[in-house]
Symmetry: C2
């Protein structure tokens, strides 16, 4: 089962022009279909279970390569750290103010900044962060 998934990932990236190594495969496999928007540390903690010699540098190198090749998105939605999203379909996010969990929103909101307010920017895309409280945090009183 796992082997099958690994083969799928391997197929997908084989001809992408970058070297496939066991470490990279493990990172890719972890990211494949992942909707948790993991940070570099979360990725590291996961793959080191399979590759105890894995280093942070490899995680960052691989992520940087994937981002530069448009395979993964770097998200700036968590204060002070980067998060990564393997889903390149344009989408938005729901962010819980309390537990900081993040959910995807695949609704298409076509928004146009009026020419007056866009200050001659050439706008190429947008991302909406919806802030609020996730189901399990709505019950709890302390919403600070």
């Amino acid at each position: 089962m796992v082997k099958f998934a690994m083969n799928l990932v391997l197929e997908k990236y084989k001809d992408s022009g970058f070297k496939m190594t066991p470490q990279r495969l493990a990172i890719l496999e972890y990211l494949e279909g992942n909707t948790e928007h993991p940070s570099a540390e979360e990725i590291y903690r996961s793959v080191i279970r399979k590759f105890p010699t894995m280093s942070f540098a490899t995680v960052y190198n691989t992520l940087e390569m994937l981002v530069s090749r448009g395979r993964v998105m770097e998200l700036s939605i968590d204060a002070g750290k980067k998060r990564f999203d393997p889903d390149m379909v344009p989408h938005h996010h729901l962010i819980c103010r309390r537990c900081r969990c993040i959910e995807d929103v695949f609704e298409d909101f076509s928004i146009d900044v009026s020419s007056g307010t866009k200050r001659n920017f050439e706008v190429t895309g947008h991302h909406i962060a919806f802030y609020g409280f996730c189901p399990s945090c709505q019950d709890k009183n302390d919403k600070g």
Copy 2:
């Protein structure tokens, strides 16, 4: 002129329940009306000119206090670091992909996530990051 501005800031914060000190005043004065969305470091670099003994801890402490009292917004729109915005009027941002400069957008986009996609989140607000190229970066070729 500067003295007058300082007095205005002083007036504004005097009765807010927190102690006003020269250092805090300098930080507040730097933030007052600032639309640069500065990071902690930029604030530090500015105020240390007036207060050479200023420490980073004071900057962070003051910012944390201001954020917790709803005087300043903490922005997660720059990878790997926090930025701060003294303008508490809800608004959005234009972000240059190249030089990373940030401009305010005071247009009101009323967006509703359909109940289907919002996964039982209680949505309390949203922020739109418009990505693109600022006027001075549009000319330059290398948009990487």
